[in-house]
């Protein structure tokens, strides 16, 4: 039986578009209809750009028919976390403070997607300013987890994770400062890539923490992430952190087994961490064994304590976020969601030596990871979340939300990390892992991820949303 349109991957949709067996308008109308039916339950979108989407799709069909091919996303619908500037289209950061903000210019990523002929479906929910959350005291509700609507999506790219998991879009852009792509990928059971720091321009994306922010995609398959990277990666002289390196062929390792790769498995780094569940740990051990079966040599290693990476990242993130929001935090405290405010105001308590020492520690940790571990190993497999998505009602609105994720170490070091599912918890929620690579070697983490995905069929099951509508 033919797949429903929303289950076609970017690669499959691209082949069908070029063969003329499906049109971009058909893909777009299907996506818009699905958003209309499902998003009232999921709240992944804060704005649907219906007219723009249909105009983009009609143009893509005309171009493809006349032999103009703008690349792998040509004619393919996508959506953007609502911190990416879109010229003439409201960009709110999910905040009361920017409710009427309509940028004059596109973010670099949006400009690249537009130039690549992709079709913008709309703007996606986020935690306010890509921080805090899950918050119910904002102008838009928080996105809900398509696997169980009573559960959290992770954040801050909450709408991105939810929209991809629900099959509302094949690709959604997210951002990741402490795990904001990889957390939603873990909780929502999708693929998410935090590229190397400097690989994708952040210009025109609302900053959270200048030296930790990364832009990257969430998709249903590893191949779709690789194809998206082909469009969005590249040097931007106006992003001071952008790396002046050629764009790699991100698909070059896809379809290969893992023979010859050496993979590090820092089990002690996460096995006894707060919140680690037996089923998450068992799924990680099974994943490491699977990677070995695919031909890689997997060896257990040790890393410095997670708490050290976490302290380093949190001090930098909090100081930099406060620097961005200082004026509004002091003058309009009640216009922020309570979670955002409770976390950001702490930047006022940090000293200059705290930040400088955090930067110095970052250098030590980065040197260790790259100069020792990743000199010997091609990649690292490690934990992402410690347990499946919590219920919304487990969060106490009067206290800052605590997350049991081990994602921030690789914002500190800047390495590329692929998050992908490993299976499901007993209550039917996704579990997952991270694959960490050498700087600017996204191709290897994608190779490992694609081999694992193909071997396990991890993406074969989708949320039963039609049942939720019927209920």
């Amino acid at each position: 039986m033919a797949k429903p349109l929303h289950e076609l991957s970017i690669a499959e949709a691209g082949r069908a578009l070029r063969a003329g067996t499906v049109s971009s308008v058909a893909l777009t109308q299907h996506a818009l209809a699905r958003i209309a039916a499902l998003d009232p339950l999921i709240h992944a979108f804060v704005l649907v750009t219906r007219e723009r989407a249909l105009a983009d799709a009609e143009r893509a069909d005309r171009e493809l028919k006349s032999g103009i091919d703008k690349g792998p996303l040509h004619g393919v619908p996508y959506a953007l976390k609502d911190i990416y500037n879109t010229a003439g289209i409201r960009t709110t950061c999910h905040s009361k403070l920017l409710l009427d903000h309509v940028p004059a210019q596109d973010s670099v990523v949006e400009a690249k997607l537009k130039a690549g002929g992709a079709v913008l479906l709309g703007k996606l929910a986020t935690h306010e300013f890509a921080f805090g959350g899950p918050s119910f005291d904002l102008p838009f509700p928080p996105a809900r987890n398509p696997w169980n609507l009573d559960h959290f999506t992770g954040g801050s790219s909450s709408g991105s994770g939810a929209a991809v998991a629900a099959g509302l879009t094949r690709m959604a852009m997210g951002s990741d400062t402490g795990g904001s792509i990889r957390g939603p990928a873990f909780y929502c059971g999708v693929v998410g890539l935090k590229p190397t720091y400097g690989r994708v321009s952040r210009r025109g994306v609302f900053p959270l923490s200048y030296t930790l922010d990364h832009c990257g995609p969430l998709t249903w398959t590893v191949e779709d992430t690789a194809l998206t990277m082909q469009v969005i990666a590249g040097y931007d002289r106006e992003d001071p952190a952008s790396a002046d390196l050629p764009v790699d062929d991100f698909t070059k390792g896809l379809g290969q087994d893992l023979t010859g790769l050496k993979i590090a498995y820092p089990r002690a780094f996460f096995a006894t961490s707060d919140g680690m569940t037996e089923e998450t740990l068992a799924a990680l051990d099974a994943a490491a064994q699977q990677v070995a079966k695919l031909g890689a040599t997997v060896e257990e290693i040790t890393l410095p304590a997670f708490a050290l990476f976490n302290a380093c990242g949190r001090v930098i993130l909090t100081a930099e976020a406060y620097a961005i929001h200082e004026e509004e935090l002091l003058s309009r405290p009640l216009d922020y969601a309570r979670y955002t405010y409770m976390r950001m105001i702490l930047g006022a308590t940090l000293s200059a030596p705290d930040l400088v020492q955090a930067f110095r520690l970052r250098r030590e940790l980065t040197t260790l990871l790259n100069g020792e571990v990743l000199k010997k190993y091609d990649a690292i497999i490690t934990a992402n979340g410690m347990s499946a998505a919590p219920r919304f009602d487990e969060f106490d609105p009067s206290m800052p939300a605590k997350m049991t994720l081990q994602t921030i170490p690789f914002n500190v070091t800047g390495n590329p990390v692929l998050a992908l599912p490993t299976g499901f918890s007993r209550n039917g929620l996704p579990l997952g892992m991270q694959i960490v690579g050498r700087a600017f070697d996204e191709a290897t983490v994608l190779r490992v991820g694609a081999a694992f995905e193909a071997a396990t069929g991890a993406m074969g099951k989708r949320p039963a949303l039609e049942a939720a509508i019927a209920a």
Binding site: G198, A348, L350, D354, Q357, R363
Partner: protein
């Protein structure tokens, strides 16, 4: 280790210095966050002699893949 009262006073002093008037209903949450942030800030302070400098964060020369 600060007592709860001392921690509260310390936080009040730092926030006052910054010019922040924390809404009363958020104070307990901010205080809880401050306890954690203070511990994390202490953790990043280590013994790093001057020879550790210059402290550039990333170097493409060192980290570019082979």
């Amino acid at each position: 280790m600060s007592t709860p009262d001392a921690l509260d006073q310390e936080l009040d002093m730092l926030l006052a210095k910054a010019g922040a008037n924390v809404p009363p209903h958020l104070k307990a949450g901010v205080l809880a966050g401050y306890r954690d942030m203070k511990a994390m800030a202490a953790m990043v302070h280590g013994s790093r002699p001057a020879t550790h400098e210059p402290s550039n964060v990333f170097s493409l020369k060192n980290f570019r893949s082979a």
